[in-house]
């Protein structure tokens, strides 16, 4: 990956430098070996995420009363295992109808919870940055070249089932020898969602604090930090959530 891929053209909209820097960090994060996935697998997940909206099988699934009623093969763009492709396409295209039983079937078919969470993390990075360039009418960034190396394969000791369908780490369960999973974060449920793979929490919320707001500014109604105000930001966020049928 070259830094040049993240020089938003000066002739376009005035993208803040902190946004450009955060997007460049996210690109490096995607390319590097992860916690359970290699760099090659992570970039392949990113690519599969990009092509998923054009999948004809996903259109059939979306039209069905229940996604499990539909047999067929996804239109794929990678050599990832078929199960991974299914996971990526379902999350990208039909996330509001994901169920606990479907997730359990994914585990029964051989994916680990930590692989699943890392895939969700990579997918979320790509969706955020592609949505940004799409919104501004800019060309999408070329995906990074994967970096060599082995995944870290470190599982947080305090991860437990209970809050969500995936194991999560509560703020009080972050181990004494572990890096502060929730540094500068409140530990709200959305922060905990990816906590089975801490690197995805750090990566995604590095983006989130720049594209949305840092936690410290969320309720600072005495000051405005963006070119749209708190109320406008929350209105847009709520509308996007509703359009996605997400009720978190």
């Amino acid at each position: 990956m070259t830094k040049a891929t993240f020089q938003y053209p000066e002739s376009s909209w005035p993208v803040r430098t902190d946004l450009t820097s955060a997007h460049a960090r996210a690109w490096r994060h995607i390319a590097a070996p992860g916690t359970w996935l290699s760099g090659r697998e992570r970039v392949a997940v990113a690519n599969e995420t990009r092509v998923a909206p054009a999948c004809a099988h996903c259109d059939v699934i979306a039209a069905a009363l229940s996604p499990v009623q539909v047999a067929g093969q996804h239109t794929r763009a990678s050599d990832l295992p078929q199960l991974w492709v299914e996971v990526i396409h379902r999350i990208r295209n039909d996330a509001a109808r994901l169920s606990d039983s479907w997730y359990e079937s994914v585990l029964e078919r051989g994916m680990t919870a930590q692989q699943y969470v890392e895939i969700v993390g990579v997918l979320a990075h790509i969706v955020a940055i592609d949505s940004f360039t799409d919104a501004l009418g800019l060309e999408r960034h070329k995906l990074p070249e994967p970096l060599a190396g082995e995944p870290a394969r470190v599982l947080p000791a305090g991860a437990k089932l209970g809050l969500a369908r995936v194991p999560t780490v509560a703020p009080e369960d972050v181990g004494p020898g572990e890096a502060d999973l929730y540094a500068n974060l409140s530990g709200a449920n959305i922060h905990r969602a990816l906590s089975l793979v801490p690197a995805e929490v750090w990566g995604f919320f590095d983006l989130d604090t720049v594209m949305y707001l840092p936690d410290s500014q969320l309720r600072d109604f005495e000051h405005e930090f963006r070119a749209i105000d708190h109320a406008q930001i929350e209105l847009v966020a709520a509308r996007v959530s509703a359009l996605n049928s997400c009720f978190y």
Binding site: S66, G121, L123, A135, I190, D208, Y212, A227, I228, L235
Partner: protein, 104 residues
Amino acid sequence: MDPLASATTVADADLLLPFAEALVQGNVARLAATRARLAANLGSAALVDTAATIAIFNAVVKIADATGIPIEDYKVDLTANDRKALGIDDYGVPTYNQDAMDAK
């Protein structure tokens, strides 16, 4: 005017909401038109920050739905009065259950 925009007192909702809707719905023509209108009326910095907000929430919803995290109890409590005032609670607790739908 967007019916949702006319139902809120948030400033410039008529510029912000159609832009968000066009992006999420993948309506390229409407996206270009709403982008131009937003930039012309609120400025390019507002356009960039609106785009960033839309984009990050387009990703946050994937994380929330894929992992199945619940909304925090305090947020449910915070909206209790509003739900009561609007009569939303009269419709009962949401019972939609994808697992039940999948089992049919």
